[in-house]
Symmetry: C2
Subunit: 429 residues, 2 copies
């Protein structure tokens, strides 16, 4: 087993966003004290509370624990007693904190380590699911228009230059669709946009509204290849500036208008409503409001498509991701998503789960990201570099293990019969 | 406008089931009294409460009402004052009762009449949906094992000879799948069975359990064409006798076992769980129980498919259908169906809505049924003949208008990665 990929614990560079203002980047060196019997029993309890996955936990002075009779496949180094105590008290949140700050290090492959731990935790909790969740609907906090803006700035306004380093050429920051697992990320993002357009059964001249348009790739793709007019909403200014520039330079400014606004600010009537990767930021408290927006926006024969990270059952987001990466985010289960559709009698035509496609998309992103970590480190400090590495790897593990799902839900108004007879048209060459 | 298709109001023939024991079949002749001003104002209120559809309502003495300024497309004759008062008091239930007993008659095309009325009623109620249903889950009554048997006998044990008159050759009494709208019913039922088998990704030698197997067509099809072993449960004895005889005569008895039993009696482990057209009879109170059955029945990489009539939002079945045709039945919304999946963390991979395919299936059934009404009348009385004509026509209207949906939901255990990469394989020739 080799040492982890992160070894240089360099001092932080300049901070550009809220990301690096926590006096971070000063990784604690290895504790010089010997570990106590108490430290070592804490370590054993920690392994046991993870369900004894085949990993080795090691303290600063070489004291270690590992499950008996299974070969160890990865390991974790804990560099100081403070990190050990924090991890023991709040493992879900502190793993991310300690990993980012360099006070713990993964030995071996980070992704493999995370998969082993997630799998083990899932086994532990599987038997508890029926009683724990019953029919409860988790309510995320209220994302008012202004809080929504803060949440979105935190993540999406980190800088276009940063995202350019590891996204595809068109800057599509949502799950791609791989007709075959081996197509390139570029091809898969284009295939995703076509998959969405085909599901929506777009006809030339139709009007489309997009809620949460990212860097504008989908809106521009639909205008160029499907002859529709698109009104695309976003509250991330960095993304909007980029999208508008693309529309201008590609001669599509008359077909695509990018609007700085929240989904709640959508006005007008459209033949299609599309939202790819926004619902995660809406919060279940606001699903009825979103349903109302769709209700007032769709023409009689209009179609809607919502593409979102989701879950098999209601639950809360990993607390570290929810605090450091995606504040205010909540991936819904299908019963939670039905709060958008059922009160308005929308007719769900098609739900497709693309979970493994998101794992594949993230594998591309992580590979590119890791190849560019030095450049990321020219923009941000090491804490940022490690946090994003962990977020990408952790997301791959979550989609592979099935903690996370990716739902594409296609719907119409109740009783709309202007729909394709079968889904075969989605798979025609 | 021609007079209705039913004109002969003959005396009842012999009764074979609970269907015709209500002293029925003595259609009231036209009332000889003149209608009063009160009768006529009741008629006007009735039209208005239907939302003024373009139909004419006519009393026994020729007094009539119709909406102004729209051409009338169908009509209803009400033959006596008693029928008028019953209809006015409980229209949803009494329409079926009065139609079956011949005390009201539809003028023009029955299906067209029903579509006009349903459409009009839907327009009236559309604005009310959001407040009425909120997040409420309608609870159907408790279908204990013995009550479930009574419910099923009422409908499915009417007699194989009866169903043979108007179903396809293989006696498939669920929504077919029409790759193109113009394929025959026989082709479409076979295509449905293949569609289900492909979704379940069956491999030769696998074990399948079927809950609610009807006359056994799907179980036999899967065994013959996909090389699987099937254990098929049903509580309708007439159907089981037929299915067992087919298995014997087709040499499939070693691959398919038909078991008299409720879904709750399923024991053993299977690679696939399939249920086509049973969930409607389960009742939401029992969805958790059904989830438990699936949970204990599926192997680690097992797949499940549930095919059921459903709705866009929780609601109760038409009261006449619920009492006379399908006692104990409840077509669920997707949020209600999630009570089967989410408590157990099942991962929904694919939901397909085949609403218009059910309308098309029912059109075939109604056409065949109408062509065989004389033969039906040799088995049952006129009340039965009319009730089933109304049920089939009403169902077409409900699926066309979107009051009813047809959901096929494919799922696996949480985190199962032994699944097809895309759905393209469903559409390969």
């Amino acid at each position: 087993m080799e040492r982890s990929e992160e070894s240089s614990l360099a001092a932080p560079r300049s901070a550009r966003t809220g990301w690096v203002t926590r006096g971070s980047g000063t990784p604690t060196r290895r504790d010089s004290k010997r570990s106590s019997a108490l430290d070592q029993s804490t370590l054993r309890r920690m392994l046991s509370s993870l369900g004894d996955p085949p990993i080795q936990l090691e303290l600063w002075d070489g004291a270690k624990v590992a499950p008996e009779q299974v070969p160890v496949q990865a390991g974790l180094l804990i560099h100081d007693r403070g990190a050990l105590l924090k991890l023991a008290a709040h493992p879900e949140f502190q793993f991310g904190e300690m990993y980012s700050s360099g006070r713990i290090e993964v030995v071996g492959d980070l992704l493999r380590f995370l998969e082993l731990v997630y799998q083990s935790l899932k086994r532990c909790s599987a038997s508890g699911i029926p009683n724990r969740i019953a029919n409860r609907i988790y309510r995320s906090r209220r994302n008012t228009v202004s809080r929504a803006r803060d949440n979105i700035h935190h993540h999406y306004d980190i800088g276009n230059d940063f995202y350019r380093l590891w996204l595809d050429r068109q800057m599509v920051y949502t799950c791609a669709y791989f007709p075959r697992p081996d197509v390139s990320l570029e091809q898969a993002q284009t295939a995703k946009m076509d998959h969405v357009a085909r599901k929506l059964w777009l006809q030339p001249g139709e009007r489309v509204v997009e809620a949460g348009c990212g860097w504008g790739a989908l809106a521009l793709h639909l205008a160029r290849h499907y002859g529709v007019k698109v009104l695309a909403f976003n509250i991330s200014r960095e993304q909007l500036a980029y999208a508008r520039e693309r529309a201008r330079s590609e001669g599509l400014a008359s077909q695509v208008e990018f609007v700085e606004g929240d989904y709640r600010e959508i006005r007008g009537e459209f033949d299609a409503f599309v939202s790819v990767g926004m619902l995660e930021h809406v919060g279940t408290k606001h699903y009825h409001e979103l349903g109302e927006v769709v209700q007032r926006s769709l023409t009689e024969n209009g179609r809607g498509l919502i593409h979102s990270i989701g879950r098999d059952h209601p639950g809360t987001l990993n607390s570290w991701i929810g605090r450091r990466i995606f504040p205010g985010a909540h991936p819904p289960s299908l019963s939670e998503m039905s709060l958008i559709f059922e009160p308005f009698g929308f007719s769900v035509l098609d739900v497709e789960n693309l979970r493994l496609h998101y794992a594949r998309t993230l594998e591309h992103w992580l590979e590119r990201y890791k190849a560019r970590e030095e450049q990321v480190n020219e923009m941000f400090d090491q804490e940022f570099v490690r946090a994003w590495r962990l977020y990408l790897a952790g997301s791959i593990a979550a989609f592979r293990i099935g903690t996370m799902q990716l739902f594409q839900v296609l719907f119409t108004r109740s009783g709309c019969n202007q729909i394709p007879w079968t889904r075969e048209h989605l798979y025609r060459d």
